[in-house]
């Protein structure tokens, strides 16, 4: 960029070149910082329109971020409730009690398994007699028709796919007749969450586009209102880069400001939702609570805001600055 060049004709001894380069770099950064601050100053001179634009960008960024957080929490919730899902292993008829007990113990020792519980055929019959009221019918039967049952509690950290493969493995055990998993609803929840997340991605992309257009249009108006200034600056020998710079930095500030507004909105909503959510969770005996935005989320939002602000500015500047020429 020719604006970074040291002005020609300044006396500079050979020994001073290194120092000159360093001073040139410092001057370069200084100038950029100056333009950056100047752009902020300009924005603050129109507080109302700046605030409105920033708020609109903030809302557009907050929407997908907030939805994403809620869905993420729901997914976690699914994880918590997975503890209640069990694999039921109905054992083969005629398997010795002793053997079944050993199998239950062995399975309980596995890493993927939280714990097991064995219900012998006799116990099962007893329970059935107690709860069903069909005692007489059972008495009439010849022997005990009920199989032994091992209930397996998968480790809580296990994702649904791993639970599925654990199930397949248990089903293949020679002692096992039927293996059943009571987690269809968890799977459904997860695919629903996936679907919703994909939907949020689409919304996020659309809103990102909206932010781009908002910044682009705001800067287009800004450029239009500074037409004379641009023309004069061009006549004086400013490069395109020099003229572009303040607008790019304005886009930067819009993006950053919008991201900060979005963070504020999301966290404010989380605080407002905290009470009701905790009450609801309490009804289900869960200690589920909403957290604030994670550091990763904060960085992501800020980065997204700044990138979109700069991109919107580039868009506007590229489209409109070239058209403004002295005549």
């Amino acid at each position: 960029m020719s604006a970074a060049k040291a002005p020609s004709g300044r006396p500079q001894g050979a020994g001073a070149t290194r120092k000159g380069v360093r001073r040139g770099l410092k001057g370069y950064l200084e100038r950029h910082l100056q333009v950056l601050i100047h752009a902020l100053g300009r924005l603050s001179r129109n507080p109302l329109s700046t605030l409105m634009t920033t708020a609109v960008i903030g809302i557009a960024l907050a929407l997908p971020a907030g939805l994403y957080l809620v869905v993420d929490h729901v997914r976690d919730l699914g994880g918590q409730w997975r503890e209640t899902t069990r694999i039921s292993l109905f054992l083969k008829q005629g398997l010795a009690d002793e053997e079944a007990r050993r199998l239950a113990e062995r399975l309980a020792g596995e890493a993927e398994v939280e714990g097991t519980e064995y219900v012998s055929p006799a116990q099962a019959l007893e329970e059935f007699r107690e709860f069903s009221g069909f005692g007489e019918v059972l008495d009439a039967l010849d022997g005990n028709p009920l199989p032994g049952l091992i209930t397996v509690q998968p480790a809580s950290s296990l994702p649904p796919e791993a639970i599925q493969s654990l199930l397949e493995r248990l089903r293949a055990l020679p002692e096992v007749d039927i293996a059943q998993l009571d987690m269809e609803w968890v799977r459904r929840l997860h695919s629903l969450v996936d679907l919703v997340q994909r939907g949020i991605l689409v919304i996020a992309i659309l809103l990102a586009l909206a932010v781009l257009l908002i910044v682009g249009n705001t800067l287009r108006l800004d450029i239009e209102s500074r037409r004379e200034e641009i023309v004069i600056t061009k006549l004086i020998g400013a490069t395109d880069g020099f003229i572009r710079r303040p607008f790019l930095y304005t886009g930067f500030w819009y993006g950053l400001g919008g991201a900060l507004v979005a963070l504020l909105l999301v966290n404010l909503s989380l605080v407002l939702l905290q009470g009701p959510v905790q009450r609801l969770a309490g009804l289900y005996g869960s200690d589920f609570r909403l957290g604030f935005t994670s550091p990763g989320m904060v960085i992501l939002l800020l980065a997204a805001g700044v990138m979109l602000g700069l991109a919107g500015a580039l868009l506007a500047v590229g489209r409109h600055l070239r058209d403004i020429e002295p005549e």
Binding site: S2, A3, I232, I236, G237, A238
Partner: protein
């Protein structure tokens, strides 16, 4: 400093604003460009600063062959020319100081050097005590002097002025001309477009006269 060789300019959809104009302005020379309104004075100056491009012919300015100069090289050309306008063209939301500083800022000069040179330029036009004022609070003559300070602050070897006294009364016009003579005396080439024949006639400089786009007179006196 300026060389025109059979230069013509035709605006889209218009007739020829300049036809086959040839002249040479030496380094350190001062000259007037005159002619009736519509004769092509502004067009000629616009060709020198590449606000417009010639339709035919060759133009060389300060060693730059303008026919071959690309868009990206235009800023470098303009940094070697100080331009003064009839309507001053100052930035109204900036102080006098900031207006004059602009040509230095666009070249990326360091802040302290900027202040020193801006004050030197303001001193030359006699406005050192008005650096914090805004242009609208100044009289026409003062605004034009700000325009001149801005045109010379970066010490360009060539000054162009398009009707610099067009909005000023005779006395102020004389003052402005004296300023141009001052710059010319330190070696700056000066080309001034003006239809104020009285003012031009009172000064001992070369006069180029345009009539309907043709250079009809080139000499030490106003052609009448």
């Amino acid at each position: 400093m300026i060389l025109f060789d059979k230069v013509s300019k035709r605006y889209p959809g218009g007739q020829e604003a300049l036809s086959m104009v040839s002249f040479r302005l030496e380094a350190g020379e001062m000259a007037f460009l005159t002619g009736h309104s519509g004769a092509g004075k502004s067009s000629l100056l616009k060709l020198i600063t590449l606000i417009e491009r010639a339709s035919a012919g060759q133009i060389v300015v300060n060693g730059h062959n303008l026919t071959r100069l690309g868009r990206r090289e235009i800023p470098r050309l303009r940094r070697n020319i100080g331009i003064i306008f009839q309507d001053y063209r100052l930035l109204h939301d900036r102080t006098v100081f900031d207006n004059v500083a602009l040509p230095l800022i666009v070249t990326g000069l360091q802040r302290r050097d900027v202040a020193r040179r801006v004050r030197a330029a303001l001193d030359m036009v006699g406005l050192l005590n008005k650096e914090k004022r805004y242009p609208v609070t100044l009289s026409g003559g003062e605004q034009q002097r700000v325009g001149i300070a801005r045109a010379v602050v970066h010490k360009p070897p060539l000054l162009l002025a398009d009707e610099p006294t067009g909005n000023l009364d005779p006395e102020l016009s004389r003052e402005i001309m004296t300023l141009f003579e001052l710059f010319n005396q330190v070696g700056v080439s000066v080309l001034i477009a003006s239809h104020d024949l009285e003012l031009i006639g009172s000064l001992p400089y070369r006069v180029l006269t345009l009539e309907q786009g043709r250079l009809i007179h080139d000499g030490g006196m106003v052609g009448r």
